[in-house]
């Protein structure tokens, strides 16, 4: 399974729609302080079902919606789509391409789609089970968080190894 593409619209500082194509190997995200690099990685976390607002540096879930700037009005909703190449069948779906979408507006909770069909959060979690991307995955290390793996309690580290089993 390969991460193909990320589409971000209205999420945090991405007021205008942005499409990022990822290739194989190592992609380096670069830019000045405050340009939006961590927002980009948080968009990935968010579309995969991140439930903790604090881990996204917000106080309410609506904090992830573009809140405006001196030259732009706030937006009513945020939407992120992540597309995987599933030609090796890693994901339990009979599609060569799988797209997960999450949308939130200022009034309500989040809505999810898998390949444009409405889905629930638990469907997304079930889809991703075993990919190392759900729950307390070691595979996503946030800014300032690299030493967390050392601060973890021994039992949490054992859980990581079990996750890797």
């Amino acid at each position: 399974m390969l991460l193909k593409r990320l589409e971000i619209m209205g999420f945090k500082s991405f007021a205008d729609k942005v499409v990022i194509e990822f290739g194989a190997g190592v992609s380096a995200v670069v830019g000045p302080n405050g340009s939006g690099k961590s927002n980009l990685t948080e968009a990935v976390r968010w579309v995969l079902g991140e439930g903790s607002v604090r881990s996204l540096r917000g106080q309410r879930m609506e904090d992830v919606i573009f809140g405006g700037s001196p030259t732009r009005r706030p937006l009513p909703l945020a939407e992120v789509s992540i597309t995987f190449d599933n030609s090796d069948g890693t994901l339990p779906l009979a599609f060569a391409e799988v797209t997960v979408t999450r949308r939130v507006d200022r009034s309500g909770g989040s809505e999810y789609c898998i390949n444009r069909a409405e889905a629930r959060l638990r469907d997304v979690h079930e889809l991703l089970a075993g990919t190392g991307l759900s729950g307390n995955a070691y595979a996503i290390v946030g800014q300032g968080q690299v030493e967390e793996i050392l601060a973890a309690r021994p039992a949490e580290r054992r859980a990581m190894v079990e996750e890797a089993s």
């Binding site: 194989a24 990685t41 039992a155 190894v161 089993s165």
Partner: protein
């Protein structure tokens, strides 16, 4: 305690030792099972990083080159980050996640350690997909592509980037 967990633990310990040995230029590292009754062999007053929580946990033991095995808390910022990165890379080698996101994990490293981590990551990139946010030139040089992020009037967008010199 499943045989599968023990088999995985064995592979993670092996990968951790090998990876840390390479990243640190000759140091040693291990994961040690600890239980509630018996604390760490190295400290009578374990800090939170080795306070076992129910049953067997895993403690991190690190010996940088030229030094004796030291309590994690006395290690320098860069030494701790290097140990954490080695453990992370070990888990990724044993059970690759679909992709791995790393947000500025080398912030505490000196230039030679940044270079070693970047080249190790480059090798991992031939078997898996990595997205790393970075300000370090050496990390950019080891990447397969650069994704540039810029902000104007509070709105983020992508720019294509070429590495200077």
């Amino acid at each position: 305690l499943g045989t599968r967990y023990l088999a995985t633990l064995g592979r993670v310990r092996e990968a951790f030792a090998a990876t840390y040995g390479r990243l640190s230029g000759g140091g040693a590292a291990d994961l040690e099972p600890v239980d509630e009754d018996r604390g760490s062999a190295e400290a009578s007053d374990p800090p939170s990083s080795i306070r076992p929580v129910g049953g067997l946990g895993l403690e991190v033991i690190v010996r940088p080159p030229g030094k004796k095995p030291t309590h994690l808390s006395l290690l320098s910022g860069g030494e701790r980050t290097l140990a954490a990165i080695a453990l992370l890379f070990a888990l990724v080698q044993v059970q690759p996640a679909a992709f791995c996101i790393l947000d500025e994990i080398e912030a505490a490293l000196d230039e030679s350690n940044v270079v070693r981590c970047a080249s190790f990551l480059r090798e991992l990139g031939s078997h898996g997909q990595f997205i790393m946010v970075t300000h370090q030139k050496s990390s950019m040089e080891a990447a397969d592509r650069l994704i540039g992020v810029t902000m104007r009037d509070g709105v983020s967008s992508l720019v294509s980037i070429r590495l200077a010199g």
